[in-house]
Subunit: 253 residues, 8 copies
């Protein structure tokens, strides 16, 4: 319910086409239901033109298919599913063939539609080869939301020259996502080289005293480099989404 439909109600009440009781009921329901729901949805649609994202892990396949069917029936485009697998991909193909599957990033986009892209770019760094899936989840998420994305993988601090040789790339990004497992030192080093917002994504890559990503998480949280913050372990989507928000603040308006 938007401002105009409220005006209609007010007019009807004034013209005695609506009783005082009904008018009161409408007013009382406004904030909690449609208007609030609509506000957030419109907000979301207006800004990036995408419906709700479906986090697939832990959901039954039949539920996932049901949700996508419902959204398709409303004509939604660029429906984003994260943490998918081949089984989900197969199931979805039974209802539509119009979908892109990024296997490594575990992402599916239903009804993909090309969008205008930002001038400024998001840079996604990955420390090692094993961090690729999470890095790709971040990169593709950002691309789906209409951002230009640069990738720089396998630039862990153990071979810091590879990182230093790309300092121009680092400096030209508007926001940088650092994906790193093991000791997660990449965030700190990058933070000392550039002056743009940094989003750290600790990964569960590692063994022994890595404790499922805890080592990288703690290291990133304790980074002495200013301008950085951290998302949950392996949360590539969260980093891509936040980076998109930041990237679009200056470059699109």
């Amino acid at each position: 319910m938007n401002r105009d439909s409220i005006k209609d109600l007010l007019l009807k009440y004034k013209n005695d086409e609506l009783s005082e009781d009904d008018m009161l009921k409408n007013i009382e329901e406004l904030p909690y239901s449609d208007l609030d729901y609509a506000k957030i949805d419109h907000h979301r649609e207006i800004r990036n033109g995408y419906p709700e994202v479906i986090y697939s892990e832990g959901k039954a396949i039949k539920h996932i298919v049901g949700i996508v069917e419902n959204m398709l029936s409303k004509g939604e485009e660029n429906i984003l599913l994260t943490r998918v697998n081949a089984e989900i991909y197969d199931a979805l193909q039974s209802i539509t063939k119009n979908l892109d599957y990024f296997e490594e990033a575990r992402i599916i986009i239903v009804n993909p539609k090309v969008k205008a892209t930002t001038d400024t770019s998001i840079l996604v760094l990955a420390a090692g080869t094993a961090d690729y899936p999470v890095a790709e989840e971040a990169a593709i998420t950002a691309e789906v939301f209409g951002n230009r994305v640069e990738r720089l993988y396998d630039v862990g601090v153990a071979g810091i020259h590879r990182l230093l040789s790309k300092i121009d790339v680092l400096n030209s990004a508007k926001v940088i996502i650092c994906v790193a497992g093991m000791e997660g030192a990449l965030l700190s080093v990058v933070g000392g080289l550039v002056d743009v917002p940094l989003i750290g994504v600790p990964t569960s890559v590692g063994y022994g005293a890595n404790f499922g990503g805890l080592a990288a998480l703690l290291a990133m949280l304790n980074s002495c480099a200013s301008g950085s913050s951290v998302v949950n372990i392996d949360n590539g989507f969260g980093a891509g989404y936040l980076a998109s928000m930041i990237n679009k603040q200056g470059g699109i308006k």
Copy 2:
């Protein structure tokens, strides 16, 4: 050392005012010391006009005084010291009277100088009264770096109506800092209400199974709200610095 001073060196070398050996020595030192050092400094100076920040906790007072004296001798302005106490304030007064002391935020600014301020604003939310010092550390940091800052304190989720009644304030911010101890739920709720970048600052406020801020930290990292990230426990400065970076990307250029 900047590009111009390198040009000078090259010219001198060409004119035989500089030997090959000296030229080689200068070149070899360039990237690692002066040029690199200068690049970062200039970068920093050009963008926000502030020298290095001094994190005071754990440093000897004589060292802090020494660093500030050195910076004053170079004419630095708006020197920012975080995590200070009354003892540090007293010691610094022996070398200069030109300083502002924000006791609750544990911040001192030496040679404070009024700066132009951004049009867009950073909103700092604090869940409870006990989160004030950390919230103020974030807010004043952001102000020192030239940002307009709004404050909304004591809006914890236990009284969610206070938060909901300020939804316009939430929506008008360009970036929001959420400072919360206990269970840190504020970040998730705010994340569901707005579509701007959110920076969570878990605080060590609480008792029992709070474990020094661990409860709030884990809660914020696991927030199901998109567009948020987290800094270290009690790290108000880090949040203020990152928020400033994000806020300035669109509003100043």
Copy 3:
């Protein structure tokens, strides 16, 4: 052994049908064995009419079948088994067809029998889709014990309007169960909206720094909302049982 059988013993002793030694032996055994055992069992039967609940996880199937057979032989009704799976269901069908299987809630009821139901109701909230199995375990447990149960699922704080739009439902419950994984913020928000006893059930739903439900558990324990307490991670049964106790205190007597 009840009061009457003790009277019999005393009479026999007085009439010299029982020696002093035998009488002493009987007295010494009284509290520890039958009388105590009987008291607790009767207590349980009288109040809610259900035998012991069988927690199935970690028990051999043959043992589970054996226990149920034994209870059936005594004519027990509404025998409740929790944490069952399809294999257990198949095994039980070999001894009786009179059983209800709630697959998602992992509950079986043998010899189900309709009971009178409370006037007041228990409300079960679930933050997300993945929390359904635990929420259903709580809801069905409460129903089996004769409570009226309302369900409100997928009302996580990231979309708080959905929760706010149901505030009448929240306020009409006599006790509320909050099932939530991730950051578990639902408990705090609900606690700020209503004034009824709240039982938090953290779930192991989540990833990364969720650490098997630890994040939600700590968040719920640290909730700043009054009137709430917490059961073990994923312990839907425990929440349902406690809610039933509370709900029946006022509504049945």
Copy 4:
């Protein structure tokens, strides 16, 4: 803002004493501000007749004094402050002499006023002498909220006969609070003896591998006794408040 004041607005709008724009503005603000705020407050006042509770730990004394002064100016009675110390007590005496100080329970009640008390009672159990402060915090909280409270202290499981000899006391309570540090086994044992709601309060009493109450907390969460739940470590107030809610459901209406 209540229903009547909304009616007034509607009337004014109909009579053209209020412009459409102003009417729209009023409607949009309704749910988030006064009405919502008022609803919760009245709810609280109507049910138990007490204003907000002040958790004193971590708050500046001047702030605590300020809050109490404000509440006194509105004529509030039975203002409850928890986690106080002698210093706070001294400071409060400068603004009013009408206060009760429970030193061991670390509670102050300003403007205390005798209230009618419930017929049913809350039983507070404490395992050891060192658990007294937390137990008293729970007991006095419950008394302040108008409940009859029974106390049974030093009944730890190492001397289980002391507990067993009081089984009548256990069975006559409407809700039981179990306060225990060390291994927190009291909750499980009591849970096996009675069929009333149990609230466990793990305390930080202990040493070595107790880890500040973690041992008791985990033990209580894993209790195999049905009908129990747990509050935060040392959270006597939370237990007393919840117990009051439960106790009043049946006994007062």
Copy 5:
């Protein structure tokens, strides 16, 4: 090298059949090699008549078979293997049919031989059905080492009357092993009832905040009952072995 071979050396040296240097060399090597090795082995054989125990978990089956073959070739009896599975049992049958397999306890005894048994007994308590495998590992270990063993299972504190009704059994044991998962409260309760050495065996039985036995381990370590100690989680063998040591101190000499 034994006492006799040393005598030989001394004689040779005295008779100048061995140089002073060679004699010195022999003496210096003595403690580190054979004599020390022999001493410990004999000690073990003399006292309880059993060879080294084989902990099977994590060992390759071919290695386990090899070790047993080697021991059989030396005529060892009552060879004890713990943490075995069906696969190991099958493999061992290819080299000998003379073995007992306790499936639930995961124990195999090769070349079993009946031994004289102690007069005094070890009591093994298990809190719940799921603790049986660990309890049986303890019980059978103790029996293999020649102890009389009593069993009392499913006597968890949630039904404390079952435990209390067996107080004579508790008091007649010379040492008690308490096997319990969940919250591990059994150790504390038993410790308050009897005055014999207690060995707690926390098990990994449980879920949620049990954290693989940590809850029971911490609870048992913090038990306020005197006379108890704890072995590693699920370490039934260790408890049985220690109990045997204690039981035999008085009863056999």
Copy 6:
């Protein structure tokens, strides 16, 4: 209430000096109160002649004094207080001068009385100098309970020859207490050298990743040496008490 007093009751009842109702009431109260209480106390008194031990940490001094006064009024001897400090010692001197204060072991014995001592002995090992207080707590506890105690301190594994040179002392003990902080390796080494029951006492001695004794605790729990178990961190009393139980089983009867 003992067997004789029950006989009296039975006789009175038979002689009609006691009504059936009164007899029933007496019987019902028997197990839970006096008889049970008396049984445990007598058990304790008969075996070692000592009253309840007073753990002083966390108790108010006035309470400690009160408990001791009460025990003195009943003529108790050898009243043992653990974890005392100088302040407690001073306070107790105001009520009696007949007390021994072991400052390093933090133990006071009120009304000390020489007892007969066991033939067999308990050996207390301490790895380092900093472990002395805990080792002495164990040693003196054992002595107070009438055991012969040997001490062998500063025999940590870093200088293993010191331990090996005392192998006769190790082998002559009936039970050994190993007190060790840091990495707690002493227990494992001793366990490989002897075949007597071992009680490990991890201490909080250490720094860094010692985490308050956690490192030593985990190491001791994981010891691969058979025949050992562990008490809580720094729990010298618990080790001494258990060692006394074991030592007296064979040596006194």
Copy 7:
């Protein structure tokens, strides 16, 4: 790029064969790219003659094959792959038959080539049979890098005589690697016996409160023996590599 090529550039610039702009570009790129990259690679090749090591865990097989193919095309010898499995071995055989597969150590060497070996040796100790894979990973790594390696397995502290009997072997090593799970006490004992650098490798071997190697890790970090340090849990390769570095410092130059 080396000093000579820089001289060339300078000469060209002086002779106007290179523009100022190109000269500036060359200077700016110097440290970050080729020179740095080349330096490290040559460093590595010159010192030990081996290319980069491939850590295989978590890498896709096609990636591993691709990397090895690439290295083979450049004529690399002694290509070391760690954490391999049979599947990787099969895949690699499709591109070359010239490879050694150490199944237990999970190592493959492609294009193996015999190298001169050090005079001094590295000693690898393993506490138990289950530690073999990690110990072999360390030993073979060291051998591949051209070190003489001694092995001493199954010398855990529970049978310390086996270790003591080999004291000459311990003392003759130039560096010792201690591989141990469970309580990790081997490091401390060896540290007290010898005066050479010790590298501890905690393993995840164990159960219960071992927590995946945490117990051994903490124990080794807290070892009171001087001259030791620790690598990550199960990190045999890291230990072998470091030991090689230390061993070669004296023995080869």
Copy 8:
């Protein structure tokens, strides 16, 4: 007992001044006592010329003074005390004025004596100003043991140019000690730049989710740079001692 005294025994036995039984007894006791003790001590003295190091933390001052007095009476030089404070310094001055006190490093050397120094050097790196005390403990320890030591402080990765500009210093060291708190990334970066043994010393410097050095410890253990290992948190002495061992292997022999 040394080789000469054994010769005496042999001679006496040969001359029938010692019976075979007494000779046998002497031989059996040999390994455990004097001979072993002497061997290790001489080893230590011969190699580095220093007596046992005294770790002062947790020791009573009177004990420390006693130990030093005893060592002085035997003419020991360069007696090293670590973790001292001013109080210990004052106490030691009462027995000797011949001592050096390094306040920041918390080290005292009694009877200091200049020693020959190694040609090769140990490099001590410190990430930040707050890591100085631990870095100095490492550096001075290494110097006391006769090593040439280089220092490079305040070279944390947030300003990586400072580190890169000193790459020659890094490469010229024979072993490098990396002292770092916060996220401990320094070790990884340095490990990627050089090919010498690296010893990581995590420090407890930091706040929030640093958890007393745990973050730096885990990060260093998970470092992906080869050739590194880690000592306990804040263990500067351990790092200095190990570095000395490694440095002297090649440079002195």
